[in-house]
């Protein structure tokens, strides 16, 4: 088996494992994630696999529930960015001309922002909750997809079958969505996979700075926010959530690379 395939398989398996754990979290979590069940900052043990946090909550249960939040945020954020990016890219590439230049200049503007700073600034002024986090990440990360889709459209719209569709009088939306888009989906899927990795990283950074998902709701990022103060006393509070983020993002990268090879997308 080739290396890329091995990695992709490993990534898919790990990712699947995390997703399943996230889905059945309420069934398998030994404790209520918000409940104070033990004394504070206990080291990992058999009764508390990941130890307890600074309030005496079970970190294993919080990590399981945190998986739901972190994965959902990553998924929805990337969905938003792919939707926006595809729409802009498709319109830009299909119609070209003035519309194209306007959209592409807008993309240039958005790309010139120091994006994490933009996200921090917007997020700090909104009520911090999970929906805003998803929206803000989605709204600031669609530019790559837009450029990609535009490129695909520029290529595909010149192909003969599109000419044919136009000749028989298909409407523009129909051509865009039924004829061109399906043929441009491979690079979008690859970009979405890698984008989800990025979104999860961004969520964790936001939550770490206290601007993301808010406690008492657990996400891997805000579990880390609590941990910095306890770096000396309870290092497991920082090590475990960080490792979970690392592994999830890594597996997404592996899956993305695998898809890239398999779907023959240029990198």
């Amino acid at each position: 088996m080739r290396r890329v395939n091995r990695q992709a398989l490993f990534g898919a398996a790990l990712l699947g494992f995390f997703v399943i754990l996230a889905i059945i979290a309420p069934l398998i979590a030994p404790y209520n994630p918000d409940e104070i069940v033990e004394s504070q900052t206990l080291a990992p043990s058999l009764s508390h696999l990941f130890g307890t946090d600074d309030l005496g909550r079970d970190l294993f249960s919080r990590a399981l529930h945190g998986a739901r939040i972190s994965l959902t945020v990553g998924f929805v954020a990337v969905l938003i960015s792919v939707l926006i990016g595809t729409l802009f890219g498709a319109v830009s590439g299909y119609y070209g001309g003035f519309l194209d230049s306007v959209i592409m200049r807008f993309v240039d503007v958005m790309l010139a922002f120091p994006s994490i700073f933009l996200i921090l600034a917007i997020q700090s002024m909104l009520t911090p909750n999970i929906y805003n986090v998803m929206a803000v990440i989605g709204l600031t990360s669609w530019m790559g997809v837009a450029r990609l889709v535009r490129g695909e459209f520029l290529r595909i719209r010149e192909l003969q079958y599109v000419e044919a569709a136009r000749a028989i009088g298909c409407s523009d939306p129909r051509i865009i969505f039924r004829h061109i888009l399906p043929n441009a989906q491979s690079p979008i899927i690859v970009a979405a996979t890698l984008g989800m990795a990025g979104a999860i990283l961004t969520e964790s950074a936001l939550s770490f700075l206290g601007l993301g998902v808010q406690p008492p709701m657990a996400s891997w990022g805000n579990m880390l926010m609590d941990s910095q103060a306890y770096l000396f006393d309870a290092p497991w509070m920082s090590i475990i959530p960080g490792l979970l983020i690392l592994l999830t993002v890594l597996s997404l990268y592996f899956v993305g690379e695998g898809l890239r090879e398999k779907l023959n997308v240029r990198g």
Binding site: I116, L118, T127, F208, L231, S238
Partner: protein, 304 residues
Amino acid sequence: MRKYLFRRLLQLVPLLIGISLISFFVMHLAPGDPTALFIDPNVKPEELARVRANWGLDQPIYVQYFLWLKNACLLDFGRSYTTGQPVINEIGQRLPVTLLLMAPSFLLTLLITIPLGVISAVRKGSWFDNAVTFLSFAGMAIPTFWLGLMLMLLFSVKLHWFPAVGNIILPLITMTIGSLAGLTRYQRASMLEVLNQDFIRTARAKGLPERVVIFKHALRNALIPTVTILGLTLPDLFGGAFIIETIFAWPGMGRLGVQSIFQRDYPIIMGIVMISALLIIIGNLLADIGYALVDPRIRYEKSK
């Protein structure tokens, strides 16, 4: 070339105006309020309203924006709400401190990433290549702030090698690892591409020693994309600075930025957005120019 440069510089203007427009409106339309930090049972709400009015925040937003834009054209970005000092001075004090961290990190990244990427490509499929590939993926997947925490845990708490803050080594390592991973993958890919090209095969067929083939012919061509991408990594470096400086209490522009966000110091936030955007755009421009210089085949008059 000169004509191209001139046009690119001209494009800067609408780009910067667009950036300022978006950030200004997003910031001022959000519910936040810079005087919120003054709350105290002895401070009456009408005092807060008065201070807001002194800052001009009671005017319609488009008036505020045009005022800002007018002054910004004269390089006056206003004064910080918290310190009363000109934004230019505040940032001027911090930017060199950030560059003190970014420049060595940039150099280190180059020094490490090029040999790693090249060797990895030359020995494609070897254990070395596998290790480099895996590590660079891991490097991309690691949350920067967590890497910073882990380094602190290891080197400050456990080993007592460096102080947790106020020392350049840990933030430097964190920042370098953060940018290393992606670039290494890029360098490897471009080297691989070059190695597969005809002129390399020809050179090999001519019986040139492998070392000459790789260093004289392949490497030169494989560096072109790296030069380009370097300019494009600037936004990431800046992004990293915001978080890394905050964790390691490095008194640069990044920490000032995060702090001003928490304090809602609008003039400072705007100033930092504009300066970073300008640096990012210039980075892109330099990358394009560098590209043109290294590779005379590229002609800009036609493109775009």
